[in-house]
Amino acid sequence: MTVTRKIWLALLTVGLLTASGMAAGHKASDSFLYLDSGPTELRIDVALRDLSLLTNIDSNGNRQISGQELRQARPEITRTVESALTFSNGSGNCDLAGRKWGISEHSDGVYSAARYAIHCPDGEPPRALQYNLLFEQDALHRGLVSLDYDGQKRLTVLGPDSRTLDLAGIDTPGYFGVFTTFVYEGVIHLLIGLDHILFLLVLVIPATLSTAKTQASSGQSRALRGRLLELAGIITAFTVAHSITLALAALDIVSLPIAWVETVIALSIGLAALNVAWPILGRKTWKLAFGFGLVHGFGFASVLGDLTSGVSGLAVALAGFNLGVELGQLALLVVGFPVLYYLGKNRMYQKGAVPVMLAGIGAISLFWVVQRAPLF
């Protein structure tokens, strides 16, 4: 809770609530429910402090709860918690069979923790959960639920206005939903991201230029095959490189300042354009593609980071986004390469269009560098 300033005009003396050995932090009241294995098992953690509102766990009334007091109160605690939970499916309400009971620790202190097996009349998993703990005492109490089964994991929250949970999992997108959403986002990001497109274009141009060697020594089909292979190598190198850094950044293993990443991406376009005319970075275009691909990956990651906040299933989102970027790339090549290849036969293209394109791209790149460089 952020501290803000407030005032009462009426004079009030308030008993000081000082922090005697407050090791744990303050937090709003939450219970934690973990459902797994089908879901046929439940683990539920309820704060001792919250239980003190519902049960007599401080039997000697000294405002402290000892291990002994908690053990004595165990039947009352489990009865209270169990009666606030209703699992059901088509065959009726399900029973909870205790498996383990003890304590656990959360950020605001010790909780009573219990594990149950859930048995429904027809032997199938439950399809719904109703949760009614503590809402009458604390309107801001929440049941924080983690669902981990059917190959998906999701987090959700139960409150006084949303006490039932559909365990069939149709109310939030599962793995597949997350995956398809992020494939789409990946495609969109590549297609609207002019910088990535320009970089690709510059990478592709060399493969469309006929060299004296290919013209002299071999026939049309062989030249085409060679170029397609060269192109495949370049694109694969770029893909592998940006996949690596996208993963590193998205999983928070490496973090770079985004403004510098954007600046280097802009610079990479200009350098790649320059390299077509004067191969200062060597003629091995795939190496160039790999090197700068690493930087572009961090650029993709910044977009992904904005999209994934609050999404459970980061790896699936990542995979989907990456695939989307690849699909966008592939679509561009399928459309663009044949056009450039066809133009490549024309001398006007080599002598006129290519230098103009390169100069234009170089200029745009420099403009972006100036605009993005974080030097304010």
Partner: protein, 403 residues
């Protein structure tokens, strides 16, 4: 207090590094595997401990037990009860009391609400950052209540709310209305705050300081007004970069050690000046309060304190559990933690921006400016600068800010 083996706990939204042995894999092979890795690190609970000792002290219950609201509580009983809960929440920084307060007020239907209950509900709503509904409660009391005291309290609360949200024109109108209905130090503090944030903090400071001295000479002011004015003087002095800020704040902290707002302002002042030992003294025993705990954590980190790592881990767990819940009542604290402890500049900027949409106190503004600078976000930085220029606000605490 609690001594059992701590098992490493999972994290909620972020997957930490060592979970993936990654460099041996490349390209799509990695993706294939990444897609199949289950999320064992997310929201994984700690183990259930069964072998705790009978003598072990597991929890300490707060001394102030929330009374369960009785079915037929009179309006006056409910008012007193609600006020107690809100004050407990404020002085302890413990949001559970807000939950008990919400339960109580939920039992009162709209037509049965008294003016005082409505003002209290507005205060609760403000604490829960429901600013618009708080505003409409207060406006209703101001325009239609026959109870003068409630009208004044509503006016003051609303002036304060507008000030927090950076709506200085509205705040000024309420301060002026307060000046005519309830003249004195409170109204003068109100006007001085608006003047400081829209024009000249030094002038505002000098005027209010002499008004306070005058009022003490004339007749001993009641302690609520005096301390409120001292707190305001501290805030304005800090804005103007005057070292007198600490003198005023210290008076308040000494008289009311549970004024967490002023304590946090003072701790922040010392933190910025590198007086880490003083920060530790001011925040000792207040680790449960997010704002103070984050300031303490930053001081500990900067002085390489041996307890730094443990406090950071605890805060991290606290904020992760809070973000699972969804409602971030403390976006400012989390943003500061992400910026100054975790170096997660993008995340800090996102939270600081979100916070600034609802709260525009100088420390909210400073946090957003610092986050925008750290994340190299010129657009956000410029947006705040434009707003400050429009308001005429300058603050010695803002980084690299020139009007």
């Amino acid at each position: 207090m609690i001594c059992f083996n701590k098992t490493p706990r999972g994290r909620i939204f972020r997957i930490s590094g060592p979970a993936f042995r990654f460099p041996a894999l490349r390209g799509r092979v990695f993706w294939l595997i990444a897609a199949l890795v289950p999320f064992q690190l997310q929201a994984a609970p700690g183990a259930i401990i069964t072998d705790f000792g009978d003598d072990q002290m597991l929890a300490e219950l707060p001394r102030s037990v929330p009374e369960i609201p009785r079915d037929h509580e009179s309006a006056e009983e409910a008012e007193n009860h609600l006020q107690r809960l809100i004050i407990l929440a404020r002085t302890s920084g413990d949001p559970r009391y807000l939950g008990y307060a919400q339960t109580l007020i939920n039992n009162w239907s709209e037509e049965n609400l008294t003016d005082r209950l409505r003002v209290l509900r507005a205060t609760l709503r403000q604490s829960l950052q429901q600013f618009d509904s708080a505003r409409s409660d207060l406006e209703r009391v101001i325009s239609s209540s026959s109870d003068r005291q409630q009208r004044i309290q509503a006016r003051l609360t609303l002036a304060n709310l507008e000030l927090v949200q950076g709506r200085y024109k509205e705040a000024e109108q309420h301060c002026q209305a307060l000046q005519s209905t309830y003249p004195g130090l409170i109204a003068q503090s109100c006007l001085a705050s608006v003047q400081a944030r829209t024009a000249a903090p030094e002038t505002a400071y000098r005027n209010l300081a002499s008004q306070l001295a005058e009022s003490i000479n004339r007749q001993p002011a009641d302690s609520t007004s005096r301390l409120w004015t001292e707190g305001t003087l501290g805030d304005i002095a800090a804005q103007a970069g005057l070292p007198e800020a600490t003198v005023h704040w210290q008076r308040v902290v000494k008289a009311t050690p549970d004024d967490l707002y002023v304590r946090a302002q003072l701790a922040d002042w010392h933190l910025v000046r590198g007086h880490f030992e003083r920060v530790l003294t001011l925040t000792r025993g207040f680790e449960a309060v997010d704002t103070l705990a984050v300031i303490r954590a930053i001081a500990m980190k900067r002085m390489d304190h041996p307890g730094s790592h443990e406090l950071n881990n605890r805060l991290q767990q606290r904020f992760e559990e809070a973000s699972w819940r969804g409602a971030l009542l403390h976006a400012r604290d989390v943003a500061r933690f992400e910026l100054d402890i975790e170096n997660q500049t993008q995340k800090a900027l996102r939270l600081a921006t979100e916070n600034w949409e609802s709260q525009r106190e100088p420390l909210d503004t400073r946090l957003l400016l610092r986050s925008a600078l750290a994340a190299d976000d010129k657009v956000q930085y410029q947006r705040v600068r434009d707003w400050l220029k429009e308001q005429g606000q300058s603050d010695a605490r803002y980084p690299e800010f020139k009007q």
